[in-house]
């Protein structure tokens, strides 16, 4: 079959050539990914492994990390977690912050997004820019501003509340009950990112869906509930995830307001602040590693639970 050979010979020749190209592509590809791969091992994976190792030691940060400067103490650090007088209260502070802040972080940006998406709003770009503006304000500056505006005597919020007839407005950062909600108010200032992606998602909802619903006689509220919310649910879920992760890491504004002790009366002693104090103020790195691991595990499991529910509740257009 002379014909067959003439046809198959070039094929046989080109095949190794393609795989050489292919090999070249793979090598280049890995080369491009290498900065991240190296960084992931050095700055994420190894440190996590070492954090887990440290939980079984009594290493103090005051000496060099070397054999002989620490002992293996088994599960002592984990046992200490149960007797730590600050562990549960500080987790309570973090949970309180999360329980108020996460719903606010979902609803307020959605309301803002609906407002700037309204076809009746004149100058939508202007509004979008200024609703976003506080998001770029550095946390430290925002904390200073809210410390002032929520001042019990001279702050504008309490002056306004008094003018509205509230004789005894909250004492915000001076009151153990109100200190966390005051930080939640500061948190509302950073809803810009969530607002923008919700807005983009609102604009992506096909108008035919609304038109069809109008033909069927649906009212605006039922359109919002049955079309808008399901269509933007992936973004709501994304915001929820970020809000959850952020809440469990949150402590910087609390420390700026209440110091390392989380004043007033420990009401701002967030769990990550407790961690920071153990690790870098008391240099108790073995035990602090347990606290770090708690933050990690709580974040991970909360996200895991959410992804589990998201499979049923979130609508992915054309998803798998």
């Amino acid at each position: 079959m002379p014909n067959a050979t003439t046809v198959s010979t070039p094929m046989l020749r080109t095949k190794p050539k393609i795989s050489a190209l292919r090999r070249r592509e793979v090598i280049w590809g890995y080369a491009f990914l290498s900065p991240w791969v190296v960084g992931f091992f050095l700055f994420s994976l190894l440190p996590i492994a070492m954090t887990i190792f440290l939980t079984f030691t009594d290493y103090k940060g005051t000496t060099e990390f070397a054999p002989g400067n620490f002992n293996l103490v088994g599960l002592d650090n984990y046992a200490r977690l149960l007797t730590d007088q600050y562990a549960l209260p500080s987790m309570g502070v973090t949970l309180k912050f999360a329980l108020i802040g996460i719903p606010l972080g979902l609803i307020i940006p959605l309301l803002f997004a609906l407002l700037v998406n309204s076809k009746h709003l004149f100058g939508a770009n202007f509004f979008r820019t200024f609703f976003f503006l506080p998001t770029v304000i550095p946390v430290v500056a925002g904390t200073i501003i809210f410390g002032g505006v929520l001042n019990t005597q001279t702050g504008w919020i309490n002056l306004a509340l008094k003018a509205l007839g509230l004789d005894d407005p909250p004492r915000w950062f001076s009151d153990p009950f109100w200190a966390v909600p005051a930080l939640n108010l500061l948190g509302i200032w950073a809803v810009g990112n969530a607002m923008l992606i919700l807005l983009a998602s609102l604009q992506g909802v096909p108008t035919e869906l609304y038109e069809a619903a109008t033909v069927d006689g649906a009212n605006p509220l039922s359109k919002f509930w049955n079309i808008t919310i399901p269509m933007i649910s992936p973004v709501i879920f994304y915001n929820l995830t970020l809000g959850l992760i952020g809440s469990f890491q949150y402590f910087v504004p609390a420390m700026l307001i209440g110091g390392r002790n989380g004043d007033p009366q420990g009401s701002l002693l967030f769990f990550p602040l407790h961690f920071y104090r153990q690790a870098f103020v008391f240099s108790d790195m073995g035990y602090a590693s347990v606290l770090a691991l708690v933050i990690f595990v709580v974040t991970l499991s909360a996200t895991g639970v959410m992804f589990f529910f998201a499979q049923r509740m979130v609508y992915y257009a054309g998803g798998d």
């Binding site: 793979v26 280049w28 590809g29 080369a31 491009f32 990914l33 991240w36 791969v37 960084g39 992931f40 050095l42 190894l46 440190p47 996590i48 070492m50 060099e64 990390f65 803002f112 407002l115 700037v116 309204s118 009746h120 709003l121 004149f122 509004f127 979008r128 820019t129 200024f130 503006l133 506080p134 770029v136 304000i137 550095p138 430290v140 500056a141 200073i144 501003i145 002032g148 505006v149 001042n151 001279t154 702050g155 504008w156 002056l159 969530a194 923008l196 992606i197 983009a200 992936p234 992760i245 469990f248 990550p272 961690f275 870098f280 590693s289 606290l291 770090a292 933050i295 990690f296 974040t299």
Partner: protein, 344 residues
């Protein structure tokens, strides 16, 4: 005017005014900051002084300044200068008619309202600038931001290109891991990193803040990858056929087309550095000379937080640059935010 147009006009007015009201409340703290920053220290201690930067108005009469008061008279409220205050009456002069000279007015001067004029002062700003050594903090923040932004851009562009264009085994798993690192709380790694950097002698220097930036980060890789995937492949394939290496193609074909995404990443990273508190707090403890603005201002707040005017001026100085940058590049910035959030 048609009925429909009229209805449109009413709802536009209504929604726009609602928007303005919401925005006013939302940005009110910024108003507080500006008003307080420009107030003099003496005004802060006066009871019932106005909320805006003000000074008590005076009237110069025969070479001396006398304070002005809103005095209720038969002809309505008049602004009169108080020359000699007594208990139940006072000697006043009318600035509108000084030639009439001093005359006596019945009534307690203490219940009269002083007249204020708008009078912003820069004293808080100059004081804050000196006490916080803003010059040094700005310099440090800029240096850290510039160096780490360069590292972040180089590494993230390379990695994003790898994810966007190359068919390599395990790519999807790797990308999933990149995304998962967003979940990683900084607390989970900071102790070992501190120990590592301490061993290297890097604690007390900027290196722990700069070096990791050269190894890419998840957000920026994701944003760039999404953008690179929208660039048509024909362009780089043409370059490859012409014999350009992948690196050459990246630099001369891909990067010029990805400028909007690169701008967004640059801004994100700059804002991150401007904001980052935890890293410098841990690695630069006791090194005031090396502090970036976040930690420098943070230390200032805990000492001087009780001075409203000084604090407000400090906050204003801290946020003015990020705010200006945002205004100038808001389109790229907002697009970048949208790409990271929606295109999952």
């Amino acid at each position: 005017m048609s009925k429909r147009f009229l209805r449109h006009l009413t709802s536009t007015t209504g929604v726009t005014f609602l928007g303005l009201a919401v925005m006013l409340i939302f940005l009110m703290p910024l108003g507080y900051m500006l008003a307080t920053a420009f107030k003099s220290e003496s005004q802060a201690t006066v009871q019932n002084a106005p909320l805006w930067p003000a000074a008590a108005a005076t009237f110069n009469f025969q070479g001396k300044d006398y304070p002005l008061y809103n005095v209720p008279t038969d002809q309505g409220t008049k602004q009169l200068a108080l020359v000699s205050p007594y208990r139940e009456d006072s000697d006043m002069v009318d600035p509108a008619n000084p030639s009439a000279g001093v005359f006596n007015v019945k009534g307690r001067w203490r219940v009269w309202e002083p007249v204020y004029t708008f009078s912003p002062t820069l004293e808080n700003f100059s004081k804050a600038w000196e006490q916080v050594s803003f010059g040094l903090l700005f310099r440090n923040t800029f240096l850290i931001a510039i160096i780490s932004t360069i590292g972040d851009l180089i590494s993230c562009i390379l990695v994003a290109y790898g994810f966007a264009r190359f068919r390599i085994p395990g790519k999807n798993i790797l990308f999933l891991i990149v995304m998962a690192t967003i979940l990683l709380p900084p607390q989970a790694t900071i102790i070992p990193l501190f120990i590592l950097f301490n061993k290297l002698g890097w604690v007390g220097t900027w290196l722990p803040l700069l070096v990791p930036a050269f190894f890419a980060n998840a957000y920026d890789v994701f944003l760039l990858r999404q953008y690179l995937m929208t660039i048509p492949r024909e362009m780089d394939e043409a370059a490859m056929i012409d014999g350009a290496s992948p690196l050459r193609t990246l630099i001369s074909v891909i990067v010029p087309q990805a400028i909007p995404a690169i701008t967004a990443v640059t801004l994100f990273h700059f804002f991150f550095v401007w904001n980052d508190y935890f890293g410098p707090l841990v690695y630069l403890v006791g090194k005031e000379n090396l502090w970036p603005i976040s930690v420098g201002i943070g230390a200032f707040v805990t000492t001087y937080g009780t001075h409203p005017g000084l604090s407000a001026a400090t906050a204003a100085l801290t946020l003015v640059l990020p705010a200006l940058m945002f205004f100038f590049a808001q389109r790229q910035f907002m697009q970048g935010v949208v790409i990271t959030g929606v295109e999952k």
